[in-house]
């Protein structure tokens, strides 16, 4: 009994020490645990999807490291600081986007990357944070829900970077930036009638916008509607990813045993289509586990956001938390054939890009917003 008690108290001591450390670092334990599990899952899947490349794993670990540093750093910042940072971040982001569009690095036929000496990064990633920050900051000083005038300003804040990113062209990121900004407006209580009206107007604009889409983007939408129409061309992605997922069945073919993934039938298997690798190798159960992990993280993030104090903190927090889900849904949806292929990575699981850093930074902001809450509303 004594031993048990000792052990019990030792565990308790460790636990409370960890809690104190987390509290000092202004981090959220529950969210960290969720993210930790997801990171482990990511490494397991990436090892298989990359064709057993240790280099991939090391690079991912490095990115997670950088992301964690960004997360811890941003967790320290107070809502007021973030609010004052918002216009600067946004301004720098827009300038960088313009630079990328002008002289950016040409990769994959699209200009997305900026080479800054040692590291290359996508300025559009900055906008994923800067847009909701500036939008939330704008609404912080105004009455909710936004009136028409405010709505126009918000629309400008959102659509300028969205247009710049879409022109790169990077439809996936543009959609995510738009979602992050729009979620701020939606959470700010925009009337449902107005939402419905805007949705209708958006549908109309989409018809017009069709003409401005790149051929490959139009093709992706066409192929989404009928993948079989181009089985070796653009429809190939969707057909092969559905074969991968479907052939995985309930329990999957086993780790590193997915023929679709291992034999290269699945395109972009370690990046945008990694969801299909999980479906093939770990089956429906693997996907359910993944979805549950995501839902735990999203729930915790939403909870943290609702507990934050101040309009800015809550709007930004909810936007970050919900955008995370949009991320998941668009990727899983496009890989399984539910939504068009728009090139959105599976958050924290897909290999590469700066998205890991941005996402972890976003969670850092969320934790900071939560830990800087005023326990008693004044």
């Amino acid at each position: 009994m004594m031993v048990d008690e000792n052990r019990d108290s030792a565990a308790r001591r460790t636990f409370s020490a960890t809690a104190r450390l987390l509290s000092a670092l202004k981090l959220d334990g529950a969210l960290l645990v969720g993210l930790g599990f997801l990171a482990v899952y990511a490494l397991i899947v990436q090892y298989s999807a990359s064709g057993q490349s240790l280099e991939t794993i090391l690079r991912t670990l490095m990115r997670i490291g950088i992301g964690t540093v960004a997360m811890i750093a941003l967790a320290q910042s107070s809502p007021n600081f973030l609010r004052s940072l918002a216009p600067w971040l946004y301004g720098i982001g827009v300038v960088l986007l313009l630079v990328v569009d002008a002289i950016g690095y040409v990769g994959k036929g699209a200009q997305r990357w900026l080479d800054v000496g040692l590291i290359r990064f996508q300025p559009s990633e900055i906008m994923k944070l800067a847009v909701p920050m500036l939008a939330a900051s704008f609404m912080h000083e105004r009455r909710l829900p936004p009136d028409w005038r405010n709505l126009l300003v918000l629309a400008a804040i959102i659509l300028l970077p969205v247009a710049l990113v879409a022109m790169q062209p990077d439809l996936g990121t543009a959609v995510l930036i738009f979602a992050a900004g729009a979620l701020v407006i939606l959470m700010a209580g925009l009337q449902w009638q107005v939402i419905a009206g805007l949705a209708l107007a958006g549908a109309g604009a989409a018809v017009v916008g069709w003409n401005f889409l790149h051929d490959y983007q139009r093709q992706r939408i066409r192929i989404f509607l009928d993948p079989q129409s181009d089985p070796l061309g653009s429809g190939y992605h969707i057909i092969q990813s559905q074969i991968a997922i479907g052939s995985g069945g309930l329990f999957g073919k086993g780790w590193m045993n997915g023929s679709q993934a291992q034999l290269n039938f699945l395109p972009e298997r370690s990046t945008d289509f990694i969801f299909a690798v999980i479906g093939e190798e770990f089956g429906l159960l693997g996907l359910i586990v993944l979805m549950l992990l995501y839902l735990v993280i999203v729930s915790r993030a939403v909870f943290l956001a609702t507990q934050a104090s101040g309009t800015f903190a809550r709007l930004l927090g909810l936007s970050l938390a919900l955008t995370f889900f949009v991320y998941v849904f668009i990727n899983a949806g496009m890989v399984s054939g539910l939504v068009p292929v728009v090139g959105v990575p599976l958050p924290l699981i897909s290999y590469g890009g700066t998205s890991v850093v941005t996402l972890l930074a976003g969670f850092g902001i969320l934790m900071g917003l939560y830990s800087h809450r005023k326990l008693v509303n004044s």
Binding site: I243, G246, G258, S259, F265
Partner: protein, 633 residues
């Protein structure tokens, strides 16, 4: 700064958060539904698709059976050759690829359309041969441009080799690329990887046995269709099955006899068929002109094929089986047998031949052939000297209703049943046939004069060289009949020869031994003092023979046939039938030389050379002669 309504804000956040959670729930369930649909309901479907994706069956073609002559000498074998093959699913633009190959002169432009259809009818991952047997120069030309032709590969494959060129091509047949039509009659999966299929003769008739069973090797392929050993840890269970080689065929053909026949016929149009009367073995089967079977397995261009088709000598026509000609006098031994069997003739009675025959009460004259007036002839002499006048009278007395069924027993007018396809039955005219065939009532009547003509093998009667050889064999065996066969056995995988039993067929009945003996005397007489005396001269065996001359056009009543003024194509066909040794026949031969004129002149010497080659062949074969076969004299 305005005072903010904290309560209102709180209310908005709560309701919007609640709505967001609701939407998240709905979207998550939708996603789950989609995944469950893919992974549970349609699992089997997608599993099969993924199987098909990664494992490909690579066929291993079976080596085609060899064709041997009756002593085991190789008549047809296989040799490696380079060919161009195309895999449809790896070819980005089929039309463009074929066009560009044509531009490189690797394909004939006229072949593109049929090729395209053939390719379309094959499975997308099958390798389809598009050009067979490339020359070294063509290989070089393709190699230079190889990178421009995705999906087109140069492959070494086994192809057919005919060491004796066009020897016996109408018997052996040839092989050519599997065509769209062929695919309808074969087991498609069984031919995956097979390039060549038998098109004629033995190659076609025994296609299944020669072909064997293709094996396969499952290979793991990646998305580019490339074969890979393994990818990552993924290493499935790959299966393979070894091909079963085709069966070697042992032909009844005797190479020396065949060669002798081919050489003797030379450039003339015609046919030689030699049969072993004791079992129906076809010892030689020649139809001239022939063609080079190698050209076909290389792949003929449209133009080359058109040349063959339009050649007025008809090299593609198998004259032995499909050429139909009036029998001429070769029918006379049968007529003599009919006369004896129906007792309408006294063999010893001598008829006077003055060179002309008139039906009672008719002024129409039936002229003796080229042999002039024979004076007094009995039955044996009439056969030996081929006296038309004698047989005019005999036929007239027999009547068509007795002649037709009688000669039908010797296979005239029906298929001999030889084991390759394409045989024609010729024509055995009867009053009933005439009635059926002609439209005008005045043409439907059978005239007595037509019976008279029948007696000497002219008129409507049409026979093939094979039928006459078959008939000669029946005469030689005194009524015993066997179905002619080109294939007499097989050589199994262990090298054992398995001979198949001869197939008896229904022959003539009710002919007395005495009648057979008389007619045999007549045929031996022909080869000693009769029309074929010059042919039988100096033979080391007893030859029994009969000449024949088939009219191509009818000489007017009062005119005389003069070979020198008649255009070559209208000259008479020359026939010769024979068997030997007369007392124990081992070979029966029919020879036809188109427009060869008088039977003994053109056809006779050919028959003699064939018989000599067969009976006097002392060269040891690869195989010992069949112990069951009749012993050489």
């Amino acid at each position: 700064m305005r005072i903010k309504d904290q309560w209102n804000e709180q209310r908005i956040f709560s309701s919007r958060t609640f709505a967001a959670i609701l939407i998240i729930g709905v979207l998550s369930l939708t996603l789950l539904g989609k995944l469950a649909y893919l992974q549970i309901i349609r699992h089997d479907y997608y599993l099969e698709l993924s199987q098909g994706n990664r494992v490909r069956q690579d066929p291993i073609p079976a080596s085609r059976g060899l064709i041997l002559d009756r002593r085991g000498r190789v008549l047809v074998d296989n040799e490696p050759a380079f060919q161009l093959e195309l895999i449809p699913e790896q070819t980005p633009d089929l039309n463009d690829t074929l066009q560009r190959l044509a531009k490189l002169k690797l394909l004939d432009p006229d072949d593109i359309e049929p090729l395209r259809r053939t390719i379309r009818s094959r499975r997308v991952f099958d390798s389809v041969p598009i050009k067979l047997r490339l020359s070294d120069e063509e290989i070089g030309r393709f190699a230079v441009h190889r990178y421009e032709f995705q999906g087109v590969e140069l492959r070494a494959r086994q192809t057919r080799h005919y060491p004796y060129g066009d020897l016996g091509v109408h018997a052996l047949g040839y092989v050519a690329a599997v065509s769209e039509e062929d695919l309808d009659r074969i087991d498609k999966p069984g031919y995956a990887g097979t390039t060549l299929i038998g098109k004629l003769g033995v190659e076609s008739a025994y296609e299944q046995r020669l072909h064997g069973l293709n094996g396969y090797q499952q290979i793991l392929v990646n998305a580019q269709g490339r074969s890979v050993k393994f990818q990552g840890a993924y290493q499935p269970d790959l299966q393979a099955s070894a091909p079963v080689p085709g069966t070697d065929l042992l032909l009844a053909i005797d190479l020396p006899a065949q060669q002798a026949a081919e050489a003797a016929l030379g450039d003339r149009r015609g046919s030689v068929v030699a049969i072993d009367p004791a079992n129906g073995d076809v010892l030689a089967l020649v139809s001239h002109p022939g063609f080079d079977p190698t050209e076909f397995s290389r792949g003929l261009t449209r133009a080359e094929y058109a040349d063959l088709i339009n050649n007025e000598d008809k090299p593609l026509l198998n004259r032995a089986l499909r050429g139909t000609y009036p029998s001429g006098s070769t029918i006379k031994p049968m007529m003599a047998l009919a006369g004896l069997t129906y007792n309408v003739v006294d063999p010893e009675r001598r008829e006077f031949c003055n060179g002309e025959f008139h039906l009672p009460g008719s002024t129409r004259m039936f002229r003796e052939g080229k042999t002039g007036k024979h004076g007094e002839v009995n039955l044996v002499d009439a056969v030996a000297k081929s006296c038309d006048v004698y047989f005019y009278g005999l036929a007239s007395e027999l009547g068509v209703d007795r002649i037709a069924p009688f000669v039908a027993q010797f296979g005239i007018g029906s298929l001999s049943g030889i084991d390759i396809s394409g045989e024609k039955p010729g024509l055995l005219p009867t009053p009933a046939w005439k009635k059926q065939t002609f439209k005008r009532p005045e043409d439907q009547i059978w005239f007595p004069g037509e019976t008279v003509n029948f007696g000497v093998g002219q008129g409507y009667l049409l026979v093939t060289p094979l039928q006459l050889a078959h008939m000669a064999a029946i005469l030689a065996e005194r009524g015993k009949s066997f179905r002619p066969r080109l294939v007499m056995g097989v050589r199994d995988a262990a090298g054992r020869i398995i001979r198949s039993a001869p197939v008896p067929s229904v022959g003539p009945k009710g002919i007395s031994e005495a009648s057979w003996a008389l007619v045999l005397r007549g045929m031996i007489g022909a080869a000693t003092y009769g029309t074929a005396a010059v042919i039988g001269k100096g033979a080391r065996y007893t030859l029994a023979a009969k000449t024949g001359t088939a009219q191509v056009f009818t000489v007017a009543q009062n005119a005389h046939y003069n070979a020198n003024i008649v255009p070559e194509r209208l000259r008479d066909h020359s026939w010769f039938i024979a068997f030997a040794p007369a007392e124990a026949p081992r070979i029966a031969v029919s020879v036809l030389v188109e427009n060869g004129g008088f039977g003994v002149a053109a056809a006779g010497p050919i028959a003699r050379r064939v018989i000599d080659a067969y009976l006097l062949d002392e060269a040891p074969g690869v195989l010992a002669p069949d112990p069951n076969a009749a012993a050489p004299p």
